[in-house]
């Protein structure tokens, strides 16, 4: 299955990868059930008829949409503008992603500023007569106001349904302004999982921004990430490599030069899958086919593969040896301090696999965890990237491993199953419930926090910090009423309704 850059519309995750959003069982079982994808796809047949068995139920709580992920990717490029072609409601995201953008810039020591998102503000009559005139007006406004290096357009549910010719407008305006004008098709209803929005952004960038005739830079490595602290530059210095952070907080030039890099890595395959595979397929930039850099075996393998591809094996071996020695004493101490503690991870898919590994390195028990979706395979289709199998093979099984797209009503039962001392989160919505049950949460706003060797220490220290918040949460728990009926809370099985009762 190849990535198809010929059409402006990205293929959704569920079409490409067989993504599911509801499942319950053991991690080892999910890993086994996902094997089909590797086998069938490796032989090139792309057997789309076969799918993981997915549960579906009548009750769902608000999720997240692809358009939001476009806001937090294309909307965070520093010298571009993102037009939201939508009624004003989708524009509510400007507030959320502005606060992330500002704090992300601050974390990366870049000048703090508001993001540049413009809503076309469609009204009732536009639903009848179409909104392309307003789209073109907003594109002109974006140009007059900021003279950006590129203009992105996010579609919305409304424009998808009324069938505005966004591609046509984008082509016309690109001709008029002489900069890339890039339509990103991300109607919320088009995919059941928001990660399709990552792919939509990356699709547009590869089609219209990445340089087609690259001059190779042999020491440049693309790092597909979000806003996290720059832990890569010091690490890469040891290997004589330079970092090219994309997509968030990048400039259009950073994006254009991705085709010139020696390799591409990421902190989470969920985010980087499409872009990394596409850069390899279209521009010959190798994607590092390794587990993610979490815990010792993962980080070792990841560094070695990066070194192999960039021909820096000796430097890497020396660095690995030094780092093992450096972090060992504190990790040993942390293992004593965290002995007997139980953790629960609820984050995006591949990222969770990495974080569970780090917890197990720290000796924390992880009997249950939750991922917001599951991709049986990533776009590279390479077994070396099978993060779930890496987790199960190196660290053992997770007995209660659930897929649930941020459904708070199920989270109660999931926590009852394993009664953790703390949870780790990356999206909001679940920690408030845990808090009302007396369980503290560690929000990993800095996605690089647990990465690499130092990440093991970082995460351990953070857990100690949040465990001491327990006093607060227990006090709160004794004084709140949950909005769920007793009947539901008494159910042992959080997936009761999805199985069909």
């Amino acid at each position: 299955m190849r990535i198809n850059l010929d059409t402006p519309v990205v293929e959704s995750r569920e079409q490409r990868l067989g993504t599911i959003i509801a499942w319950d069982g053991k991690a080892s079982e999910l890993s086994k059930q996902s094997e089909y994808a590797r086998k069938s796809c490796a032989s090139g047949c792309g057997e789309k008829g076969r799918r993981l068995c997915e549960m579906k139920g009548p009750f769902t709580q608000g999720s997240v949409c692809s358009e939001q992920m476009v806001e937090c990717q294309a909307g965070h490029i520093r010298d571009a503008v993102l037009i939201q072609h939508s009624p004003i409601g989708c524009g509510a995201g400007q507030v959320i992603y502005n606060s992330i953008y500002r704090n992300g810039l601050a974390m990366r020591n870049l000048p703090v500023e508001n993001l540049r998102l413009i809503s076309t503000n469609l009204k009732e009559q536009d639903m009848v007569f179409g909104g392309v005139d307003k789209l073109e007006q907003s594109i002109r406004d974006a140009w007059e106001r900021h003279h950006p290096k590129a203009i992105f357009i996010a579609t919305s549910c409304a424009t998808g349904i009324i069938g505005d010719d966004v591609d046509g407008s984008a082509r016309k305006m690109e001709g008029e302004l002489g900069i890339p004008v890039i339509p990103l098709h991300c109607e919320g209803f088009m995919s059941k999982h928001w990660s399709t929005g990552f792919d939509a952004t990356q699709h547009g960038i590869m089609r219209q921004i990445v340089r087609k005739n690259p001059t190779k830079q042999e020491d440049l490595v693309n790092v597909i990430n979000l806003w996290g602290t720059d832990v890569f530059t010091p690490m890469f210095k040891e290997l004589n490599l330079r970092v090219n952070f994309v997509v968030d907080l990048a400039t259009v030039e950073d994006l254009a030069q991705m085709s010139e890099a020696a390799a591409t890595v990421g902190f989470c395959h969920t985010l980087s899958s499409y872009l990394a595979a596409g850069l390899e397929q279209e521009f010959g930039v190798p994607e590092i086919k390794a587990p993610q850099p979490y815990g010792f075996p993962g980080t070792d393998a990841w560094l070695r593969e990066l070194a192999k591809v960039t021909h820096r094996e000796e430097l890497a071996e020396a660095y690995i040896a030094r780092e093992h020695l450096r972090v060992a004493p504190r990790i040993a101490e942390l293992r004593v301090l965290l002995k007997g503690k139980k953790g629960f991870v609820s984050t995006g898919s591949a990222y969770a696999h990495g974080i569970i590994a780090v917890l197990r390195e720290l000796g924390v028990e992880v009997d249950g965890s939750l991922v917001f979706h599951h991709d049986p395979i990533y776009d590279s289709q390479d077994p070396r990237q099978d993060t779930l199998a890496h987790l199960v093979d190196n660290y053992g099984d997770v007995p209660s491993f659930s897929v649930s797209n941020r459904q708070q009503y199920q989270f109660y039962g999931l926590l009852q199953r394993v009664k953790p001392d703390f949870i780790i989160i990356r999206h909001n919505g679940l920690a408030p419930l845990a808090s009302r049950l007396g369980i503290p949460a560690a929000p990993l706003g800095d996605e690089h926090h647990a990465l690499g060797y130092q990440g093991i220490i970082n995460l351990g220290e953070t857990i100690l910090e949040i465990l001491s918040h327990k006093k607060f949460h227990e006090d709160l728990a004794a004084h709140v009423t949950l909005p769920y009926k007793k009947w539901w809370l008494d159910q042992g099985d959080p997936f009761l309704l999805v199985k069909g009762d």
Partner: protein, 461 residues
């Protein structure tokens, strides 16, 4: 404020402003489905959203989290059920999906009333959500529907749709009498106004101080739906805002023959608050002696603190802003502008009304600003697009010192550029933590002074 000149500041050039376009950069209100928060603002009421997968989370993240970190409360935030509409409901219609979700919500969630709100998809594909909700109503289920399709209005107009849905479909008909001295309060927009909880508490406290019994209707001081059921029994409705709530009050007048008092100015400070209370008490026709006693006591406390403030205000060495700019929706904008002009003697440097109020109310709003004081001229502009607002502010002449900006997170960069300060008093206030703080009434005015001048002082050295 013409916006006709080119401005160069800090090395950046801002070309003259052309005519207004459709574009909105840096939103200051959201769509009608944002009024799901008007449902979750009522104790034990939970909204059910029939919309795309991102709509509910966006509205919540924006209005309730990145706006004072207020939190979702009992039935908001990630609790809110959503049909998370996918392609199949777009193609085949979403009525069955909505029916299924309502039924499941009744099983799982503990609410006294569910309020179904719709987003743009069901409106565009022609779902008959009303028919689905009526089926449940026929079974006696406490559920109402407000059609809040995103392109139809703002969260302000959506608020009145939600309010009206509850009145018409849940409170229902009433033929009994009215209880003297009981008032229903319709004022600021829950959640969108970052300080709504503390403000409503203070308004309730003041009215009760005057001897009234208050149905505050939103926030934790409301008794929830039982209070809503008693709306028709109240003597009258009080609309405390320039326009929001007027349609509701007019509707109640038609429906229950209930009179209303419209006071456009939310009171801040002793003068304004005492006169507010006297007006309401006179309208109610109740014995004013209680109110007078309350006013005396409150003013004693107020002026005690104001005296302390006066020492600072008269002899602080390191400079203070003389002018101010307010960027915000009309209710707070008017209240703050009056307080700063009449009580502190500051000079207005531009008042930007940002919530896109319906045309028919705009002249009345402007008039309120024109008549604040005889000796002060205010410039009011109805603007929704922050790029325009910021350009207009850059082009203004503020004399020797930059103005203090009472605005939102969107003004942080502008304030830095102008070497001025911003106090985030409205949506979005992403760098404020707001729980029970208030800016209105007697107590709120003091808190507001503390906030404004802490900001000023802490910026000096």
């Amino acid at each position: 404020m013409q916006g006709a000149e080119t401005v160069v500041t800090e090395g950046r050039t801002f070309p003259p402003l052309g005519p207004k376009t459709n574009s909105i950069q840096q939103v200051r209100y959201v769509c009608a489905i944002g009024a799901m928060h008007s449902a979750s603002a009522i104790p034990w009421v939970i909204p059910i959203t029939h919309c795309g997968p991102g709509c509910a989370e966006k509205q919540f993240g924006s209005l309730a989290m990145c706006n004072g970190f207020q939190g979702g409360g009992y039935g908001g935030g990630a609790v809110v059920p959503s049909t998370n509409i996918s392609e199949s409901e777009v193609v085949f219609g979403g009525e069955n999906r909505l029916r299924e979700l309502i039924r499941a919500s009744l099983k799982i969630l503990d609410a006294e009333l569910f309020v179904v709100v719709t987003g743009c998809i069901p409106d565009l594909v022609g779902d008959d959500a009303g028919a689905v909700v009526r089926e449940f109503q026929a079974e006696g289920v406490p559920v109402v529907l407000a059609e809040t399709g995103g392109f139809k209005g703002t969260n302000f107009t959506g608020h009145e749709l939600v309010t009206r849905a509850i009145i018409d479909q849940y409170v229902g008909e009433y033929a009994g009498g009215r209880t003297p001295g009981v008032v229903n309060v319709w004022s600021m927009l829950p959640y969108h106004n970052t300080f709504w909880q503390g403000d409503l508490s203070e308004i309730k406290r003041v009215l009760e101080g005057g001897g009234l019994k208050v149905n505050i209707l939103f926030g934790h001081e409301s008794e929830g739906v039982s209070e809503w059921k008693r709306i028709p029994q109240a003597q009258f409705n009080l609309v405390l805002s320039p326009w929001l709530g007027l349609r509701t009050a007019q509707h109640l007048e038609g429906k229950y023959g209930q009179p209303f008092l419209h006071l456009p100015i939310i009171p801040i400070g002793a003068d304004e608050t005492s006169s507010f209370l006297r007006k309401v008490v006179a309208f109610a026709g109740i014995d004013p002696s209680l109110a007078e006693e309350f006013i005396k006591k409150e003013e004693r406390t107020y002026y005690h603190y104001l005296e302390g403030f006066g020492e600072f205000y008269s002899e602080y060495f390191w400079g203070m802003p003389a002018k101010f700019v307010v960027v915000g929706e009309s209710a707070y904008n008017l209240a703050l502008t009056r307080f700063l002009i009449n009580d502190l003697g500051l000079m207005p440097g531009g008042q930007f009304i940002t919530e896109n109020p319906p045309e028919e109310y705009r002249e009345a709003i402007s008039r309120e600003f024109r008549t604040i004081a005889d000796d002060v001229v205010t410039h009011v502009a109805f603007e929704e697009d922050s790029y325009r607002i910021h350009t207009l502010i850059r082009q203004s002449d503020f004399g020797q010192k930059p103005p203090i900006i009472l605005g939102t997170t969107w003004e942080r960069d502008l304030a830095k550029e102008m070497r001025s300060a911003v106090v985030e008093v409205g949506f979005p206030a992403s760098y404020e933590m707001v729980l029970s703080r208030t800016n209105v009434g007697y107590r709120g005015a003091i808190a507001l002074l503390e906030k404004i001048y802490t900001t000023v002082v802490s910026g000096t050295a």
